[in-house]
């Protein structure tokens, strides 16, 4: 039996169309739009000005506090504007606009990074490099990575889990990265184990990526401390709490962090970024993005510079297919629908999904027939039908007492509801009100 988490979960159509497409380099964009709030936490502070010349990897916005991150210029060029543009959140956010210097050779020479296995830095240097390189969780949560690594001396973290689950349908960015950069990922894991004094690491991969499991097992052969766990295909296994439960059978307490059960979880993409930061001092300026959809001609995976407008990507795969009604930044289960393709790729963009008419429109919500499916599939053991009801009626105190705040917003309930009820919409809304009420109280 393959490991998995015990309660709830669904198995949506996988649609991993691009899993055999090698990651291509995107051509250098003419202009990049780099938002300064690409991560969870405090936005970064802009330290460049209009007309400034910037180099690749130069810090253009500096970390605004502990839970924040540096942002580096993805290209060499000139800052043309400091502007407000709509980003993936749908709101206007401050953004640094950089025009690529077409004459600057550094933009076009292919940097070569041969595998570098020796870890020469000590713990402090490693953490310093990760902090400086602007690395955030690349699985989509974009939590600044150095915060997770800042362990107190009395920490009891004994296991590092690498998240290679990629349970979202359609997305294959992590899958391709694992296939193509397996050795680098293993070194990245060793770097973290070295820095945090951890002696056990498990890479969790769902069994629909058998080739990645094989490749990583091979790459990890020389290091007995690193194991690869094949997991049953079940959404939302990529969620930290579910992944820890699946692999170690440890349960993160309500309101707690993985650290509370002695675990740190990092996405494979993050691990690769850490490898590059530590071994080659290369900041996070590009990432793998899956551009996909059922009607796209050349759906594929790309190395994309942060700040590249999504329309460049859409053009690269053959243009917007006829009848596209929804553009999703991320996967179909948790991704955000965006208004147009002017929005730039950020550190958290794992995929761009173009959805056509029949899948994009929601059906009319009908009466709840109390079938209980939402309760069965909720991985957190909540009762979505009840939470929706309470949120609809404005009973926020009861909503909070029914543990609405532990909802991970995976969307399994809305996905499965035969009456097409917008369960997660109401739960999200209720959660935001509870948050506001709590801040008002304090």
């Amino acid at each position: 039996m393959l490991k998995t988490f015990p309660k709830g979960g669904i198995h949506p159509e996988e649609n991993k169309i691009t899993s055999s497409k090698a990651i291509k380099k995107m051509p250098i964009p003419k202009v990049v739009y780099v938002p300064i709030a690409q991560h969870i936490g405090i936005p970064s502070e802009i330290i460049v000005d209009k007309k400034d010349k910037v180099e690749i990897g130069q810090v253009i916005a500096k970390s605004g506090g502990f839970v924040s991150s540096n942002i580096h210029s993805p290209i060499a060029g000139t800052v043309t504007k400091l502007d407000m543009i709509v980003d993936t959140s749908g709101y206007k956010k401050q953004c640094i606009v950089i025009r690529t210097d077409q004459k600057n050779e550094t933009n076009f020479e292919e940097p070569v990074f041969p595998l570098k296995k020796e870890i020469t830095m000590d713990q402090k240097d490693i953490l310093q490099h990760i902090t400086n390189s602007g690395i955030v969780g690349l699985g989509g949560a974009t939590f600044p990575s150095h915060v997770k690594l800042d362990l107190k001396n009395d920490n009891k973290v004994d296991c590092l889990i690498i998240n290679g689950v990629e349970c979202e349908p359609y997305l294959t960015a992590d899958h391709r990265l694992m296939l193509e950069k397996a050795d680098e990922i293993i070194v990245g894991i060793q770097i973290l184990m070295h820095a945090l004094h951890i002696n056990e690491a498990v890479i969790g991969i769902e069994n629909n990526k058998k080739d990645a499991i094989k490749v990583l097992k091979q790459a990890a052969q020389s290091d007995k401390r690193i194991k690869v766990a094949a997991l049953q295909v079940k959404y939302p296994q990529g969620s930290e709490k579910q992944l820890i439960k699946a692999i170690l059978k440890r349960e993160v307490p309500k309101g707690g962090l993985p650290m509370d059960v002695g675990v740190i979880v990092h996405n494979v993409g993050t691990i690769f970024a850490i490898y590059q930061a530590v071994q080659y001092n290369r900041p996070l300026i590009e990432r793998v993005v899956t551009v996909t959809g059922k009607n796209i001609e050349n759906a594929s995976n790309f190395w994309v510079k942060i700040g590249t407008p999504i329309k460049d990507l859409v053009e690269e795969v053959g243009g917007m297919p006829e009848g596209t009604r929804k553009i999703v930044n991320g996967g179909p289960m948790m991704g955000k629908a965006i208004k147009n393709t002017d929005v730039p790729v950020t550190k958290g963009t794992s995929g761009i999904l173009l959805i056509s008419e029949n899948e994009a429109s929601r059906q009319e919500a009908k009466n709840c027939i109390r079938c209980g499916q939402c309760v069965f599939v909720c991985p957190m053991g909540l009762e979505p039908h009840l939470l929706m009801n309470l949120s609809e009626k404005g009973l926020y105190e009861r909503l909070a007492s029914e543990d609405a705040m532990t909802c991970i917003e995976c969307g399994s309930c809305s996905y499965v509801c035969p009456s097409h009820r917008p369960l997660l919409d109401y739960i999200r809304f209720g959660k935001s009100i509870i948050k506001k009420l709590n801040t008002a109280k304090n």
């Binding site: 309660k7 307490p253 059960v261 009848g323 429109s361 027939i369 009762e383 809305s414 097409h420």
Partner: protein
């Protein structure tokens, strides 16, 4: 201009499951039992079912359109199912006007007056049946027996149900060994060559449909299996203590609508609990009440009463038997 881009919150995909599909799965599951009822009772079963279904649909239409002035929802399949289940719970020779009254009570009182699909507390078909049972006890308990020529109307031939024979026999002081001579064999009970309500006849056909429902994930095993096992264990204990006073568990399980109730009536999505723990409690409650009514009550069989009584407890069960919350009551410490 091209169609506008849709902005909505995640998730952006949906399982193809719809309420309608769920309802139609229930419908398919009822086909084998329906065929058996036609085979056993002839054309009267067909008439009964058609009348029940048509009157349920018509009442739902009339009440929603003219009385409540809301959207008419007769196409969602739920009134259709109520009609079939109502018919399955009635003797096939019941006068047509009584069937129509039963449908009116089921749809008008038990379903729509509570707010329609999803809001009713009690199983509509069972409310219809119990209403008729209380108002017309004679007609509701004279059952036609299986006929040779299954295309004739069979009002004349009436017989008692298995449980009815047992109850009456015990009342007159007979022992189980003498009574059992008049009973159909276990095999006959299983296949459905006996007398009783139109759809409760064949355990085999009902089980086929029930398994289909579980495979299609319309229902889970929790309610039917828990209910039947509890009934079997309880009646088994009584039977072991005194086999002359109490019928054996197989007779109980195969007659009196136990299987129909377990797979189709108790599992009604709307009127059963929503958590698996709750379902188990609910099913145990039904089984206990059924057995108590059958062994010690005035009625020979008690599945419908038991289900209705437990329906009333569903809100409470849902409130107190919640799913285990992830990460709850776990100490924030490393093992």
């Amino acid at each position: 201009m091209a169609d506008p881009i849709i902005i909505s919150a995640s998730p952006h995909v949906h399982s193809a499951r719809t309420s309608k599909k769920v309802m139609y799965d229930v419908l398919y599951a009822l086909i084998p039992a329906f065929l058996v009822s036609i085979y056993v009772f002839g054309i009267s079963a067909l008439i009964l079912t058609s009348v029940a279904v048509i009157s349920c649909l018509v009442f739902e239409y009339i009440i929603q359109k003219y009385l409540l002035k809301t959207k008419v929802t007769i196409t969602d399949g739920s009134a259709l199912i109520t009609g079939i289940l109502l018919a399955f719970n009635l003797p096939s020779n019941l006068p047509i006007w009584m069937i129509i009254i039963g449908a009116l009570i089921a749809i008008g009182v038990a379903k729509l007056s509570f707010g329609g699909l999803g809001y009713n507390i009690f199983n509509p078909a069972l409310i219809g049946r119990v209403f008729l049972l209380v108002c017309f006890p004679v007609q509701m308990t004279s059952w036609p027996t299986a006929v040779e020529n299954n295309l004739t109307l069979v009002d004349a031939v009436t017989g008692e149900t298995t449980l009815g024979i047992i109850k009456e026999g015990l009342m007159y002081g007979e022992t189980m060994s003498t009574i059992s001579e008049q009973l159909p064999s276990t095999m006959e009970l299983f296949i459905g060559i006996t007398s009783g309500s139109a759809g409760e006849m064949s355990a085999l056909a009902l089980l086929l449909g029930g398994i289909f429902l579980i495979v299609r994930k319309v229902i889970t095993w929790h309610i039917p299996i828990t209910m039947l096992v509890t009934m079997g264990v309880m009646t088994g204990i009584f039977w072991l203590v005194n086999p002359e006073q109490y019928a054996n568990p197989l007779i109980h399980l195969l007659s009196g609508g136990a299987i129909l109730g377990a797979f189709y009536m108790a599992t009604d999505l709307v009127t059963s609990p929503m958590t698996k723990k709750g379902m188990v409690i609910f099913a145990i409650g039904i089984a206990v009440i059924t057995v108590v009514i059958r062994l010690f009550g005035a009625y020979p069989e008690g599945v419908s009463f038991a289900i209705l009584i437990m329906n009333a407890f569903v809100p409470l069960i849902d409130k107190y038997f919640k799913p285990r919350r992830f990460g709850n009551k776990i100490k924030s410490k490393i093992m």
